[in-house]
Symmetry: D2
Subunit: 135 residues, 4 copies
């Protein structure tokens, strides 16, 4: 499987729980950080969008935990993006160096404009070079 955007990260010990594995909630942090780095790559930092009245809001997350991350491990956080009408679908994964999948998730985002749901055309424009023009 190939991805349009990847970053390298490493486990920080404060992300571990008493089972000495990364706590399930921290993967959402990893995924969010990756999406925000992707926004920055696209030329539109998330916080600048917010300060212009455009908020990308998570509507749905489906996440599978396949293996675990432990202290000191390095990993790849990767994503793909698709638009379905007003929804932006991020397929995200955490991968070990050998390519094995730690977690994978489908994250559905909708766009609020001044607090109201929108079609997300401004955001589609920002991501245009990565979106197939299906919509």
């Amino acid at each position: 499987m190939s991805y349009i955007f990847e970053i390298e990260m490493e486990v920080r010990d404060y992300e571990l729980d008493t089972e000495q594995i990364v706590n399930n909630a921290n993967y959402l942090h990893y995924f969010e950080h990756t999406r925000h780095k992707f926004c920055r790559e696209a030329g539109m930092p998330f916080i600048d969008m917010h300060n212009q009245g455009i908020d990308a809001v998570v509507r749905k997350i489906e996440i599978e935990y396949i293996s675990s991350l432990r202290s000191g491990e390095h990993f790849i956080s990767a994503l793909n993006l698709e638009r379905r009408g007003p929804r932006f679908i991020f397929d995200q994964a955490i991968l070990k160096d050998d390519g094995s999948v730690v977690t994978k998730a489908r994250i559905t985002i909708v766009i609020l404009k001044n607090g109201h749901i929108s079609k997300g055309d401004e955001v589609a424009e920002i991501f245009s070079r990565w979106l197939n023009n299906k919509d």
Copy 2:
């Protein structure tokens, strides 16, 4: 909809993000805290299970974000439990005081015994008074 276990919680400001709403990852913290309170209610604190070699591990989460929580808001975190073979399914929700749903999630747990996947019979025993004996 009725639930077998509920706790009251309130938003803490450090859980908010720059959009002034609770960050998506914190709901997994709320859900986990609720499950662990439920374990304690059942007479088996999570950490005692771990120290006895039994680890409940999250395998899958499906979560829908329906509305938002803001600074100062109080809420109910509620759960139901079902067993499907070796899997324990928690249906969890965050509800406002008026009963409206903020988020709802289906969380699938499996049980490791000394690091190996198990049928989860010890855990089923702990939760026996809340489980229908379908299995």
Copy 3:
């Protein structure tokens, strides 16, 4: 020792680290949550202050870790407040039910008004019933 404001809290398992004690950073969360509850008690939620251009900013923290908190423990988070010119000094403590001290901290806050350091008179007004009029 007596305090002007106290709340009851309990350890959440996701706050524990691999040593099975509450991670050192989480005490700053407990302290902040307590100060923000105190602001709300005083009639001025922290986020409302922010939205009016007044930001209470932490300038200095001195914290002593005396004992530890573990899974399932309940505790008291308490504070005192003093004004020293433009600085607000919060003396905060985390106490077990038997009164023994887990951590204690002195936290120095200054007030920004529209991004610039101020004398903090509006904030002193909000807290006036708890401040000795030394200043």
Copy 4:
């Protein structure tokens, strides 16, 4: 000022609070991560120490917040180490690329051996090449 160990890090948006600056508690996370990377550099990962019955426990933190970190900023997290009898003193700082100081902290660590306070000689051995032999 020179440091014996430095790492590069960057702000993650989930670390920001509603004031759009990094929340005060997250600096303790940055500091801890830096110390743990330093332990790993010294050949003894923190978690391995724990699993051998040696726990480095934070006893005291004094931290000054001088400026703020915002979305997207890169920074240096640096430390120095000194031993004073049974105490290990970490002088840590967060620095911007231009060398200006964001926060600086003095963090005092003591060593527990199988749960009891110890002189810390095993830990001093691990860090011997960075310690002046004053003790």
